[in-house]
Structure formats: C-alpha cells, structure tokens
C-alpha cells in the first residue's frame, strides 16, 4: 500500500472518561450517536405500541395512567413524543451523525473529523436535548399534546391549552432548540471534513455515494436548523415572555378569552417550521439513499449505474427540498396560485427520485447478486422508497390533499418514506458496517429472519393505513368507537395493531443479534465483503487514528467491481496500479 505520512500522528487517550465518555474520536462519537438513537427508537416504538393498543382496546386499563384509562390528551402526548423522538433523535441522528461520524472520515482517508472538540460538543448537546425533551414526561401536566409540528396557538398558549401545554411544551421547545444547535455544529464539521480533509487522490468524483449523501445532508442541516432555531426562539418568547409572534387576538379557550395577545400569525410558524421540516425529511432519507447505492453496488459486484447522475440527483433533491415547504400547508388557506407552484415543484422531485430508482435497478441488472442481510435491507429500502414516494405524488396535488390531508393516508405516506425507508437504510448500514465497527460479524441467518419479519411487518402496518385514509379516517383521534362511520374500519385497526406487535417484537431479534454478535460473533476480517472503499483497507475495528499514521493514496473511483482484465472482481480504491491484476 502506498502511503504518505500524515505528519500529525497522535496517540489514543488513556482513561475511561476520555476514551468512552468525553471522547474526541469520531468513531466513539459515532457509536455514541448510534446508541442514543438505539435507545430512542425503542422508546419511540414503545410509545407507538401504547397508542396502537389504545386504538384497538380503548377501555383497557394501563398501569401508568392515574385513573386506569388513557385520556385523549395522554394519547396525544404519546403521539407528540413518538413523533418528536423518532424524527429528531432517531432519523436525524443515526443515519447522519451516527454512521456519518464513524464512516465518513475513514472513507475519505482522514484521521478524524476536522474539529474533534466541536464534534464531541455536538454529541453532548444532542444528548442534553434528548434529556430535556424526554423530561417533559415527568413534569406537571406531562408531555405536550401539539404533535411534533407544534402548531400554535395550541403550542404557544401555555397551560390553558391543555395538560402538557405548560411545562411539558416549554421543555419540548427548549429541547428542540438545543437539538438545532447540536445539529448545526455537526453539519459544520461534516462539510469541512469532506471539503478539506480528503486523502491524496480522493477527488470529488471518487467519493463514495455515502459520502456524497452525508455531505448533501449536512448542507441541508446547516441551512435548515437555523430556521427552526429562530422559530423555536420566537415560540418560546410567546410562551414565557408574553409576546405575540404566533398568537392571534380574540382567542377564546374553554370559555376563557385570551386578552394578553393580539395580531400574531399562526401561519408564520407553519412557514418557518416547514421551511425546516421539509428539508428535514431529506435529512432523514438521503443518508439511506447513499447507503442503498453503496450496498447495492457492493453486493451486485457491479459499479453503481450512473454515478454522476446519482450525485446530481442527490443535489437536486436537496435543492428542491427547500422549495416545496408549502405542500404541507395546502389546507391552510393559501392562494391557489401558490399551491399550484408548490405542487408543481413537489412533483418535480419525482424526477431525481425516479433517476435514483432507475439507477438502483440498473445497478442490480445483470449483477452477480449476493443476498446478504445488508443487501436485503438495501433492496427493502428501494421498495419502501418507491411505495412511500408514489403516495407522495397523490398528496402533492392540492385538490387531492384537501381530502386526504388530515387522514391516515398521510400517516401511511410519511411513515413509509421517511420513517421505515430511513430505518431500512439504518439496518442496511448496520449489517454492512457492524464487522468494521465491532470486529465481529452479525449472524446472517438471524439477520434474514429479522429482515423478513420487519419487511412484511412494516408493509402490514402501513399499507392498510392508506385505505383507512381513503375511507376518510382522520389522524390523531384517540378513540374511534364513538364515531359511527369509523366502526366498520375497526378490523383494519385490529390488523394493524397485531402487525405492529409482531414487528416490534421482531426487533428484539435484532437486539439479540446485535449484542450477542458483539460478544460472540464470528471474527471479522479486514474486508469481509470484498468491498472497495477505504474503510475496508484497515483492521476491524479500526485503530485509534484509523490509518495508524499512514494516510492512503486513492487511485480510482469507489465502485470498481468486475473490472475486465482484473484478477479479482473488485479493486480497492487504495490499491496501486502496479498491484492491480495480481492476487492480493
């Protein structure tokens, strides 16, 4: 291997706290993010399970509710916290901050992130934000009830708007604001590292698509989280200082006139929130696209079909993501002309999305496909992305959205595309990089059982929700038994709840595989998948400074599989031209 000394060789820290808690090592920080997301995803799933149980058995007594029965407000609190924890603490952290932190520096041939101290601060800021948001459960009134979108005036009025709208909602706003700061710091580090710390020969055109995806995601985060931070600041002032940014005059809440506020605009919050919120959807899904491209190519033993188009599509999706926030607001009374523009721009996103899908299929076409668990989750990602994306085209049309907006159709749509598809991206990444991260293989048989339970499970949960939505079933109803026209739909709810129980239980299979393999899995070699990118050129797990002081030189693109004339069906990026063709 041709190397050149990095010059700034450094030594690993000694002592538990510097090594594992306040670590500056991007790999440890990546794992910290991953475990934060792992904790959060099980918490979020537990909340959704309680909601599903309540929807089917509304009279079931639950241990944690004071009177035994769940109130509609408690249901809304579960929903709010489920959404907030899943979107912020899972979908934003695991794919980007978790895997991005661990893998990105190694894939570009860097010893660490550009600013390790900043990186550590990003994680601990995020950790504090999780603690603050979750603490909303434990204050008087409990967790907020205004959903993860926190629309005012409900979110701005305080205690009078309902239980959870007092201290709980304040903690939510502060927690999310802290999260914005952590994400902004992280984005700075990701972009700078990618721009300035690439190894010799790692041109932009040779970066793995995972790196491209993390880069575009970081740019989205940099431009979007500042806007949410500003919105949270104004909302917080409305709540605790008595300003009227978002609270209109003349409100009457449970027979009490709200006299202390005038003239605010609830719509202003919606604009600010969705200007952040729509890019946020792509922050969740783009890293999954990068991972899907990466594993599909590796396990098809073929180069990614249309590498440049894939990069262009990532950029186009990122850019368009900032132009379509209004499609979340079709029913807000906006001008039909604005709605038309937002609708057109939204459907335009179908073009780069179709390019990506076409290229994924093109990558598979004629390949020598290895059905590893990672590959299956990668394929599952493509499937869910298409299914979830298609319903997006329905909702992008204002006239159809008018009917479907507050129904389960939207719940089905966004869960498939930004929830489950992104989760499949996380699973594909986990099964792919686990050997690198922990030096042992995950059990493939257990992995495949986990895949099939999860794949069939998520479709069983979310496909029927489309039909609930088409039948006019509203979202956010805690109890549907008192609504006549929803009665016949009850069996569908029953089916969904059963599917959810099975799917969530199946995640314990993953958890077992994860921790069992970490301890007792088969030892992983340096490059168990015969992959090409730089992380596979170093030991599993990698040494403290990744390349032991010898930064590799990169000679070729990231997906040189099945190159005609070469001995092996893959040529690593760092392999010198003289060594290509000889056995290695």
């Amino acid at each position: 291997m041709v190397t050149h000394d990095s010059g700034g060789h450094h030594h690993p820290p000694s002592g538990f706290i510097r090594k594992y808690i306040f670590s500056l090592d991007h790999k440890v920080i990546g794992l910290q993010y991953y475990f934060l997301a792992l904790f959060s995803v099980f918490l979020g799933m537990a909340l959704s399970m309680l909601m599903r149980i309540h929807l089917v058995w509304p009279n079931l007594k639950l241990p944690f509710t004071p009177g035994g029965l769940m109130t509609p407000e408690q249901y809304l609190a579960l929903m709010t916290m489920h959404g907030s924890i899943m979107v912020f603490m899972v979908l934003t952290t695991a794919p980007q901050s978790g895997f991005g932190n661990y893998i990105l520096p190694i894939q570009i041939g860097a010893e660490d992130m550009a600013f390790p101290v900043l990186n550590m601060l990003s994680f601990w800021t995020t950790f504090v934000s999780l603690v603050v948001v979750v603490s909303a459960f434990f204050v008087t009134g409990g967790a907020p009830i205004s959903g993860w979108t926190a629309y005012p005036p409900l979110s701005a009025l305080g205690q009078i708007a309902g239980p959870g709208q007092g201290a709980g909602q304040t903690l939510w706003v502060i927690g999310v604001a802290i999260f914005c700061i952590g994400s902004l710091l992280g984005a700075l580090n990701f972009i700078t590292t990618t721009v300035d710390l690439r190894a010799k020969g790692m041109t932009l055109g040779r970066m793995p698509l995972t790196v491209w995806a993390w880069l575009v995601t970081a740019i989205l985060g940099l431009l979007a989280f500042g806007v949410l931070l500003a919105a949270c600041l104004l909302l917080l002032l409305d709540r605790i200082a008595g300003t009227s940014f978002f609270i209109p005059g003349g409100l009457v809440v449970t027979d009490t006139p709200i006299v202390s506020h005038t003239g605010g605009s609830p719509l202003l919050w919606q604009h600010l929130f969705w200007f952040f919120g729509h890019p946020e959807v792509y922050i969740a899904i783009l890293p999954g696209m990068g991972v899907a491209s990466h594993v599909l190519s590796t396990f098809s033993r073929k180069p990614v079909f249309g590498y440049k188009a894939m990069v262009g599509a990532l950029g186009a999706i990122g850019f368009l993501g900032f132009c379509v926030w209004g499609h979340h607001m079709f029913i807000s009374g906006m001008s039909p002309y604005s709605a038309f523009a937002f609708s057109l721009l939204t459907m335009t996103i179908g073009v780069p999305s179709a390019i990506k899908t076409f290229n994924w299929l093109g990558t598979l076409w004629g390949g020598s496909i290895h059905f590893t668990t990672s590959m299956m989750f990668g394929l599952g990602f493509v499937s869910l992305f298409v299914t979830g994306g298609l319903s997006g085209l329905f909702l992008a049309q204002p006239s159809i959205d008018l009917y479907l907006h507050d129904t389960y159709f939207v719940v089905a749509h966004f869960h498939l595309i930004m929830g489950v598809a992104a989760i499949f991206g996380i699973f594909a990444a986990t099964y792919f990089w686990f050997p690198k991260m922990f030096g042992r293989m995950l059990n493939e048989t257990i992995g495949k059982i986990h895949f099939w339970f999860t794949f069939i499970g998520v479709y069983s949960i979310f496909m029927p929700m489309h039909f609930l939505g088409l039948a006019g079933h509203p979202r956010r109803y805690a109890d549907t038994t008192g609504v006549n026209f929803l009665g016949p739909l009850h069996p569908v709810h029953y089916f969904i709840t059963m599917a959810a129980m099975i799917t969530i239980t199946a995640q314990l299979i993953f958890l077992f595989n994860f921790f069992y393999s970490m301890k007792a899995g088969q030892k992983a070699s340096e490059n168990p998948w015969n992959a090409t990118t730089l992380e596979w050129s170093i030991p599993s797990p990698p040494p403290f400074d990744n390349f032991a002081g010898h930064i590799p030189v990169v000679y070729r693109g990231p997906y040189e599989f099945s190159v005609p004339g070469a001995t092996d069906d893959y040529i690593p990026q760092h392999l010198t031209p003289e060594k290509v063709g000889k056995a290695h």
């Binding site: 990095s6 431009l223 300003t243 605009s265």
Partner: protein, 217 residues
C-alpha cells in the same frame, strides 16, 4: 461502467483534497488525550464561511418573520428609535477599520502595533455592546419593552441575537490576543484572518439589521 485499469491513474492530485498541506501539528487544545491530528489551515476558513451561512439563515428566518408579522398584523406601532444606535453603528464601522489596520501590522510583522490595534478593535466591540445596552435602557425608559408591541419585540430579539453573536466575536478577538500559538493547531495568521472575517460579517449584519429596524419600525 467499469473503467479500464489505467485510465485515471495520472489524476492523483485532487483539488482541495490533495492533502499536500503540511499539517500544523501540535495537539488539540493541549488536553490530555494527546490531541488530534493536524488539519490544513484552510479548514478554518471553510468552517467560518459555513458557520456564517448558518447564522445568515437564522437571521433571514427572523427577518422573514419581521416582514410577515408586520405585513399581516394590524397592531404594529412605531417607537422612537434610540438615537444612540447611530453612534453604535459608527463605532462598529470604525472597528472594522481598526481590525484591518491591525491585520496590516501583523502582515508587516509589527507585533506591538498589531496588538494595540487589535485591542482597540476589541474595545470598540465592547463599547458597541454597552451602547446597545444603553439603547435598551432608553427604550425601557420610554415604556417600550419586549412585549409592548411586535415592533419592539422584534427590536429586542434582533438586537439581542446580534449582540450575542457579536459577543462571540469579542471572545474570538480575545482568543487571538491571548492564545499561545506554540501550542495551537491554528496559526496566528489564520486565527486573525478568520476572526476578522467573522467580525466584518457581524458588522455587515448589523448594518442590515439597523436598516431593517429603522426603515421597518
């Protein structure tokens, strides 16, 4: 499609990823870990530009809110613009000039003159913040508080947010003044340039906010 084995071999040096910069060496903040690797000095320029992009998005969100809130509401009442803000603006503009003079002295290796002008800049920054505080006191004296009217709400929010960012700039100036460069990953020249870029941008941002608040009040 799979390329031939040799077609890209000659393209080894990669633009900014060329990795040819000699790392600054030294450790990271001199803390116990033994530090982290050296990084090219250009990374500090990259990160400050990116950071400013993020900050601009934050202020653009507040600016949009200002315009929307003023346009949609019918309760907007103008307040007496504190005159001291004109003086504060001049002070901040002057600080941008003094920071340039300081940089020129550093380039000419005149360390003492650099230190003096750098300190003058820091002093002007602190003076600006004190002036902003006086403006708040004057408004409060007129009975104009954060919650009085959306116009005053935005005034306090925007000036406070800018003041906080400028305070960060003052910390950066002090860092440059008191840093031991022998133990630092960032060189004095880079730190000076990066702090200056940030300072000028906070100056420019203030001019923008001043115009917004004055014309839009």
């Amino acid at each position: 499609m799979p390329g031939t084995i040799t077609d890209e071999i000659e393209i080894i040096d990669a633009g900014r990823g060329g990795g040819t910069d000699v790392p600054a060496g030294g450790d990271d903040e001199g803390e116990g870990s033994g530090g982290s690797p050296g990084i090219p000095q250009r990374a500090y320029f990259t990160v400050i530009q990116l950071g400013l992009a993020g900050i601009i998005m934050f202020f653009m969100a507040l600016t949009s809110s200002f315009l929307v809130r003023k346009g949609l509401g019918n309760d907007w009442v103008a307040f007496n613009f504190p005159r001291i803000l004109w003086l504060n603006t001049l002070i901040l503009l002057a600080s941008s000039i003094t920071i340039q003079i300081a940089r020129r002295h550093l380039r000419g290796d005149e360390k003492v003159a650099f230190k003096q002008w750098w300190s003058v800049t820091t002093g002007l920054g602190i003076l600006f913040l004190a002036g902003q505080f006086i403006a708040w006191r004057q408004l409060a004296g007129q009975g104009v508080f954060l919650v009085t009217n959306p116009s005053s709400s935005f005034f306090y929010v925007l000036t406070a947010a800018h003041g906080l960012h400028l305070f960060g700039g003052i910390l950066a100036l002090l860092y440059v003044s008191y840093r031991n460069w022998q133990r630092s990953r960032i060189s004095q020249a880079t730190a000076t340039d990066v702090a200056s870029i940030y300072w000028h941008c906070m100056d420019g941002l203030w001019i923008f906010l001043f115009a917004l608040l004055y014309l839009g009040r």
